[in-house]
Amino acid sequence: MMTTEISRSALTLRPDFATIAAWIRPGSSVLDLGCGDGTLLHYLRDKLDIHGYGVEIDAHNILACMKNGINVIQNDLEAGLSEFEGESFDYVILSQTLQAMKNTEYIIREMLRVGKEGIVSFPNFGYWKNRIQVAGGHMPVSPTLPYQWYDTPNVHLCTLHDFEQLCQQHRVNILERRVMNNDKKVTFLPNLFGILAFYRFSHAA
């Protein structure tokens, strides 16, 4: 539909976006919550012919989406997704934003109301280097958790185990899990060696 400036960078997609993209069926509909500058949606549109919208609250990101030719709706995720009808998307993505949400349970419910499937990614607080920093008496600071404790948007950090427990409690059915250490897949002790966690989930039947 539109010519854009990020098509070149989208070819070398961030590894975390590539993990999500691998789960998306071509031609599907996608809602990307906290879509940033629209890079992921742009990639999904160009490579997988999806139809999608991003949701953003930050003015700079909204402008960046506009420049990138991405549909973007200004909205505060904490207030829910009232503009969107039930089951109106194949996938609702929440990429590295869950840990910064105040209403964690509400947004997961909303994702599964609006989408047939939800996809989340978040930094694994159980990663061994984080544990070592905590054992050493400090809150962890790392490339995926790059904030000091007094100046962080992250209010709800969790481990893989924590998230899976929440899913169980809320009758969320985990369809697929992928745990990454940079661009490497982690299968051995993922709650210890994984840096980023990805889940694809739906309503439990």
Binding site: T3, A59, L63, M66
Partner: protein, 377 residues
């Protein structure tokens, strides 16, 4: 990127298009022929794919950008938005401003001479709606050989007119930019319009709309209508910061003369407007606002009303706009989302109320610039 570096389109002139095919109006009335006065900026490209229609608001007209050779102070009402290098770039687009049918700036309207009587139409001019205007836009495009507008853009009533065209002639609109608009007026909003109309209708100089033949003009009514409207176009905060409780002469006079600066400002706005605008046109335009309600034929279901739309939309609102609040823009966005149309929506931080859509604001202008840049021709 600074927006100050761009130039005005410069000297422009208005032209006139004549239409001889009778126009059936929504009211049931028929206009046998009519004229529209318009301006264009930029060049229509060879395949006529770069036309952008600007729809004006309640008191606007076709003079959207540039200045007139014989009146260099008369700058177009959206000159900060439209011109070479501006958000709506006339180096890329062929931009058209039309004075709506029923207007008082040259298009056929209440002050025009009715060929059948040899007198001004006055109260006999039929009420026109956004749907009637949409028909006139299509006919206008036909005359230029424009099959499809690259974009239709409008704020306030202009945004409603843009939506109406996107609904009534979906194949003729590729993009619609709807700014500070609403899918229908609220009761409060209609109430404001009614007070404005009552001010005019009850002015002894109104003479049932036939004031032209009495050699009068309902100046007091029109002035009051404009003063009321103006209050609703500003925000409490912008009035407070611009005028506060400042007194014109420094102390209370204990009489009914102009004392507060806000009074002085409002009187000035009212006076200026009453000298330039036609009261019948004002009445008619407020009715067009009140009647706009695309969901009406769909049991109030706006999403059903938008099922026929095909255009991509950009919807913008302003945080301090209480006359056409962000919530009303979100209604439009919801209807577009329900139909899986391409749409972007931003709520622009601004303290200037409804009038924000006319103001120079970097973020607002950057959004429109970015959107317009991405329209492929």
């Amino acid at each position: 990127m600074s927006t100050q570096d761009s130039d005005s389109i410069g000297i422009v002139s208005a032209r006139r298009a004549h239409f001889d095919t009778p126009l059936s109006l929504k009211s049931g009335a028929v206009l046998d022929s009519y004229e529209l006065v318009y301006e264009t900026y930029g060049e229509l490209n060879a395949d006529r794919s770069n036309a952008v229609l600007i729809c004006h608001a309640l008191s606007g007209n076709h003079h959207v950008a540039g200045v007139y050779a014989d009146n260099p102070k008369n700058t177009g009402w959206w000159n900060n938005m439209i011109g070479p290098g501006k958000p709506v770039d006339t180096r890329k687009f062929f931009v058209i401003g039309i004075n709506n049918l029923g207007g008082c700036h040259g298009s056929t309207g209440p002050i025009s001479i009715n060929d059948k009587t040899g007198k001004r139409f006055g109260p006999d001019f039929p009420l026109v709606t956004t749907a009637d205007w949409a028909k006139t836009y299509v006919r206008f495009a036909d005359q230029f050989g424009i099959d499809c507008f690259a974009a239709v853009i409008g704020g306030s009533l202009g945004g409603m007119s843009a939506m109406q065209l996107a609904l009534d002639a979906p194949e003729r609109v590729r993009h619609a930019i709807v700014v500070a608009a609403s899918a229908r007026l609220t009761a409060q909003n209609i109430a404001f319009n009614d007070v404005a109309r009552q001010a005019i209708l009850t002015d002894p100089d109104f003479h049932d709309g036939d004031y032209y033949s009495h050699g009068t003009h309902p100046r007091r009514g029109l002035r009051l209508a404009r003063m009321l409207g103006h209050i609703t176009y500003l925000s409490d905060d912008s009035m407070a910061s611009k005028f506060g409780r400042e007194l014109r002469n420094g102390s209370l006079a204990f009489n009914y003369d102009v004392e507060f600066q806000i009074e002085s400002y409002l009187h000035h706005q009212g006076d200026k407007f009453a000298d330039l605008f036609d009261a019948n046109t004002y009445l008619l335009m407020t009715k067009a606002l009140d009647y706009f309600d695309p969901a009406q034929d769909y049991d109030g279901n706006l999403s059903a009303a938008f099922a026929r739309a095909q255009a991509d939309f950009l919807v913008l609102s302003f945080t301090s706009d209480w006359r056409f609040s962000p919530e009303r823009s979100r209604d439009i966005v919801k209807a577009l989302l329900d139909n899986k149309l391409n749409v972007s929506y931003a709520e622009i931080p601004s303290s200037y109320g409804h009038d924000s859509f006319l103001m120079q604001d970097d973020y607002y202008h950057q959004l429109i610039r970015a959107y317009m840049n991405n329209i492929a021709l």
